[in-house]
């Protein structure tokens, strides 16, 4: 092991993470890399370390590790606690609200919000989603206008049915926890617990029961099973996009749901397959992790224009 090279790699890392890191630093770093195989080896170790860090859900993991550090080193306890308090407000977007009987809710891009329903159930809105909650004497209705929700139902004293309505039809909860996503041309439903009943709007006679662990898409007239999902349907609730063997093009579209501006991938890398857990609250970190996992590089012209390209492209 070349300790000098490791030390230098660590110093480069500290320089390139700094606020004032500019093109001249990157150029100098490139020069350093080219100078010796040991430098490239050391930098590869650094990339491995960054990969491990990139796989963690940032703020939550940082808070956990800071607390474990507090426990280990009493000397830092007071400052550590102060930091915990200051981190509490910034990290998560879970603003709790107690809606009136009819209420509209909307989340911005990159936002996620948890709402406690009047019956004690929980509704979580994913990024860029909008719903109306309409509870009346006959039913508990949630209208999903756009985006994606997770609904954890609670038993109702008045035994009113709990339903989610989308452009394509109704989903009736059967004592359950499930995820509904409005796609451009269909509604995707994934059941985590118990079961739901799907009712396409154009076929009043058609009812399809969906059990825990199953996923389906339905339009106004048909229901089709969605097969094995390439991403874990509810992982966004924990701030992660968890994918298995997903084509990069699809991954790019999924990550784009949490990010402002243009995000695309070049055709030559669109079919590369990706697996792993990526933080959606920090899409820059997620993209960095992609560049570690695949032979690609992330090219940004401005903050709002990003493209994933083949590593050796010019």
């Amino acid at each position: 092991m070349n300790r000098e090279a490791i030390k230098a790699a660590a110093e480069w890392h500290a320089q390139l993470c700094a606020d004032d890191a500019g093109p001249e630093h990157h150029a100098a770093h490139e020069h350093w890399l080219r100078a010796h195989a040991d430098h490239r080896w050391a930098w590869q170790q650094l990339e491995t370390l960054r990969g491990k860090l990139g796989a963690l859900p940032g703020p939550a993991a940082a808070s956990t590790l800071r607390r474990s550090g507090v426990r280990q080193g009493r000397r830092s306890a007071i400052k550590g606690l102060a930091l915990l308090v200051s981190a509490g407000g910034a990290g998560w977007l879970g603003v709790r609200e107690y809606p009136a009987l009819t209420a509209g809710h909307r989340t911005a891009l990159g936002e996620r919000r948890s709402i406690t329903l009047a019956d004690g159930g929980t509704l979580i809105l994913n990024s860029d989603s909008s719903v109306d909650i309409r509870y009346d004497a006959q039913q508990r209705l949630i209208q999903l206008h756009s985006g994606e929700i997770l609904l954890q139902s609670a038993p109702d004293a008045a035994k009113r049915p709990l339903r989610v309505q989308t452009r394509d039809g109704l989903i009736q909860a059967l004592g359950t926890r499930f995820i509904v996503r409005q796609l451009p041309d269909a509604t995707r439903v994934a059941v985590e617990q118990h079961a739901v009943l799907l009712q396409p709007a154009g076929e009043p006679g058609l009812r399809q029961r969906l059990e825990a662990g199953q996923q389906a898409e339905f339009s106004r007239s048909t229901v089709r099973p969605a097969g094995t999902p390439a991403s874990e349907p509810g992982s966004w609730v924990t701030g992660m996009l968890v994918v298995a063997d997903m084509p990069l093009a699809q991954f790019t579209a999924e990550l784009g749901r949490y990010r402002r501006g243009h995000l695309a991938c070049a055709p030559e890398v669109a079919q590369l397959r990706l697996s792993g857990a990526f933080p959606i609250d920090d899409t820059e970190r997620a993209l960095h992790a992609v560049a570690q996992a695949l032979p690609v590089r992330i090219r940004s012209f401005t903050r709002y224009w990003t493209r994933i390209e083949a590593e050796d492209a010019d």
């Binding site: 300790r3 606020d19 963690l56 940032g58 956990t64 280990q72 830092s76 981190a87 998560w92 992982s235």
Partner: protein
């Protein structure tokens, strides 16, 4: 014939001192099941460590030796449990309901343990600076403000923490 396998020595050690060690661990931990588990872990560690195997050849104070290994096993165990607890508490602060798949949760916990072990032995400020920069994405200026240090110190701490992690990562088995 190959030289005597440490396995024989270890099984002898286990027969003679296993029950005693379990009693010692039970007094330390206050839980009979945990003590039984960690007794097994201690002997597994003795078996899987070549250095320990060599020491076994002429062991004058077997109980002293076992307690030394058991103490290390116990520290690792408690650290793991503390970190797991901190992580679950952290998740509990998030909006309910939280259903990470067990696989995701286990993977994240393993990585947390690995990073935690790497950061161990690093001073409080380099540790904080590194976490704030790498996991929270704060700028050096913001980190300097929070930790009440200069920006050039942040950079110095970042370099030190990165080097520390890299050296431990390279040192770790696997």
């Amino acid at each position: 014939m190959p030289p005597t396998l440490p396995t024989d020595t270890v099984s002898g050690l286990y027969r003679e001192h296993g029950t005693w060690l379990q009693g010692w661990l039970r007094r330390k931990l206050g839980c009979i099941w945990e003590a039984a588990d960690l007794t097994q872990d201690t002997f597994v560690r003795v078996l899987s460590s070549p250095a320990a195997g060599r020491q076994l050849e002429d062991l004058r104070e077997p109980r002293h030796f076992l307690v030394t290994v058991a103490r290390r096993v116990m520290v690792d165990h408690l650290r793991r449990r503390a970190l797991e607890k901190a992580w679950l508490e952290e998740l509990a602060l998030r909006p309910e309901p939280l259903a990470q798949s067990p696989e995701t949760r286990a993977l994240i916990l393993e990585t947390l343990l690995e990073i935690d072990a790497m950061l161990d032995g690093l001073g409080a400020k380099p540790r904080q600076a590194f976490l704030l920069s790498q996991l929270e994405g704060l700028s050096y200026a913001e980190i300097a403000r929070q930790l009440e240090i200069s920006v050039s110190s942040v950079k110095k701490y970042m370099a030190r923490a990165t080097e520390h992690c890299l050296l431990l990562m390279l040192d770790a088995p696997r």
